[in-house]
């Protein structure tokens, strides 16, 4: 869908940026309110709902038994996908997965996978024959801006509260899925010439390039993604990385507070 009056919106965002203001009144590095609920969907082995400003996403974890890849006979597998269905915004059309939804799923997937928070060997049941496949599906229900961070948060919260349904598959007792860390994503968009954290819908519409950073428990980087047209300097990156550290730590505590309930 063509964005209505993006030029006027861009001008307004630039005008506000000159006074270091944002279109929704937040400070440059301020986050919108985030609410996290876990374990709320009956058929998912792990589930989470994230309400992040006007953005609402659900994530659900399912398990399947599969044969391991021949070159990795003792390792299970992980798959993370996101759907941007037309329910989420007037701009999304029905049809096959868009490049945007594929990028979203893959960026979240990399952050989780590369953090090593799931030990693939622990998903092995019979070497060479039977392993667990873990599938995280993310369902974006309302796109009010910054769906990347909301999806990343929902995915890791659903994983960290997931129960492996071993009894249903007749391969032992149900047990918690071992997830050893909590990778968290922080996203920035250039709006009005400078980067802002947690872009709202208008800033995404009238903004430029975006950067997504996933940090692990020890503040190591696990995934980076630059999206959309635009260029940035190493100094700008250093600045937003510092902001990302603080927000990732806060959100990691939020996930921890929902576990064990």
């Amino acid at each position: 869908m063509a964005a209505p009056v993006p030029n006027l919106l861009r001008q307004e965002i630039e005008r506000l940026a000159a006074d270091d203001k944002r279109i929704d009144g937040r400070g440059r590095w301020e986050r919108r309110a985030v609410d996290l609920e876990v374990g709320l969907l009956y058929n998912a082995e792990g589930s989470a709902k994230v309400t992040w400003g006007g953005t609402v996403v659900y994530a659900g974890v399912k398990f399947e038994l599969r044969t391991p890849w021949p070159d990795r006979p003792t390792q299970g597998s992980l798959m993370c996908g996101a759907e941007l269905r037309p329910v989420a915004h007037v701009k999304y059309e029905p049809g096959p997965p868009s490049p945007e939804s594929i990028e979203l799923g893959r960026v979240v997937d990399r952050g989780i996978r590369e953090s090593g928070c799931i030990d693939m060997e622990s998903l092995c049941i019979v070497p060479g024959e039977k392993v667990w496949g873990v599938m995280i599906d993310i369902h974006v229900m309302s796109d009010g801006g910054n769906i990347f961070d909301a999806c990343g948060l929902a995915a890791i919260a659903a994983l960290r509260t997931a129960i492996v349904p071993a009894e249903r598959f007749d391969v032992g007792e149900d047990h918690v899925l071992g997830v050893s860390s909590t990778p968290i994503m922080a996203s920035f968009t250039r709006a009005g010439g400078r980067f802002v954290y947690d872009p709202c819908e208008e800033e995404e519409l009238g903004g430029d390039e975006r950067i997504h950073i996933t940090l692990g428990d020890t503040e190591h980087l696990h995934s980076l993604q630059k999206g959309l047209k635009g260029a940035f300097t190493p100094a700008e990156f250093a600045e937003i990385l510092d902001v990302a550290r603080k927000h990732c730590a806060e959100l990691r505590d939020l996930v921890a507070s929902k576990e064990g309930n």
Binding site: L41, N43, E64, P94
Partner: protein
């Protein structure tokens, strides 16, 4: 799978059902509207363990132009199950079942929405099932009519989706998953609570005419109960909580 209909014990010795419900008792229903900020109107319906969420967009320009109607709006309705909504994960994408449910749901809603008020336009109704425990099409229809109301789309009446069925030769209200899988019949209906009209009807299995009449009596009883919950949900959002 079991060998056939009716050979699984679904009624207890005390006449109650496996989850403790009486034969004419529906599962608990909770409803909220205005749950999705990006949508014009939205609703969340929990019926038993089913969760259905619906977003409404529009009225908006209908394109491509060949779908336009000169004298009325068209309803573009999609029913979709999230991959994690079922016991075994389902692959994303539109399947035959989802297409059929989308079609009959659209036709149910077309019977109540005042489409003639919006010529040449389109109203999008997006139903997402997040958890499925038998009865998702009914929860979806209830959610859709609530989301349309939340969007301020004029309608003749709301629509309540509700099903009755038969287990162990006994007519029961609102089948759960086991009863749906191993029961003998399922009769989902879309009922307009004010006019008493039916705008959606399906059935499969085996019912005598007397059993049909009893099942439909249960459906109407439940529709009146659910209608109260629907009105309260709208009042909670728009009328300071006074129904």
């Amino acid at each position: 799978m079991m060998g056939g209909y009716g050979d699984v014990q679904l009624l207890r010795d005390d006449g109650k059902r496996l989850d403790g419900r009486a034969i004419d008792e529906m599962r608990p229903v909770e409803i909220k509207v205005g749950v999705l900020p990006a949508a014009q109107g939205s609703a969340w319906v929990k019926q038993g363990l089913n969760v259905a969420v619906c977003a409404v967009y529009g009225p908006m320009e209908a394109h491509p132009r060949k779908i336009q109607r000169q004298d009325r709006a068209v309803l573009d309705v999609r029913y979709n199950m999230a991959p994690f909504s079922t016991g075994d994960r389902i692959r994303p994408g539109f399947n035959r079942r989802a297409r059929e449910i989308s079609k009959v749901t659209a036709e149910a809603l077309e019977s109540v929405v005042l489409l003639e008020r919006f010529p040449r336009s389109k109203i999008r109704v997006e139903i997402e099932i997040l958890a499925a425990e038998a009865g998702t099409r009914c929860a979806g229809i209830t959610a859709a009519s609530m989301a349309l109301a939340d969007a301020g789309i004029p309608m003749r009446d709301l629509v309540v989706g509700i099903a009755s069925g038969k287990i162990q030769d006994t007519v029961v209200l609102d089948l759960d998953k086991a009863e749906d899988n191993y029961g003998q019949a399922d009769l989902p209906a879309g009922i307009c609570p004010n006019t008493g009209e039916l705008v959606f009807l399906q059935m499969d299995g085996d019912l005598s005419i007397d059993e049909y009449n009893l099942a439909m009596e249960y459906n109407y009883k439940a529709a009146a109960e659910i209608h109260e919950i629907m009105v309260a949900a709208l009042a909670a959002r728009y009328d300071g909580g006074e129904a």
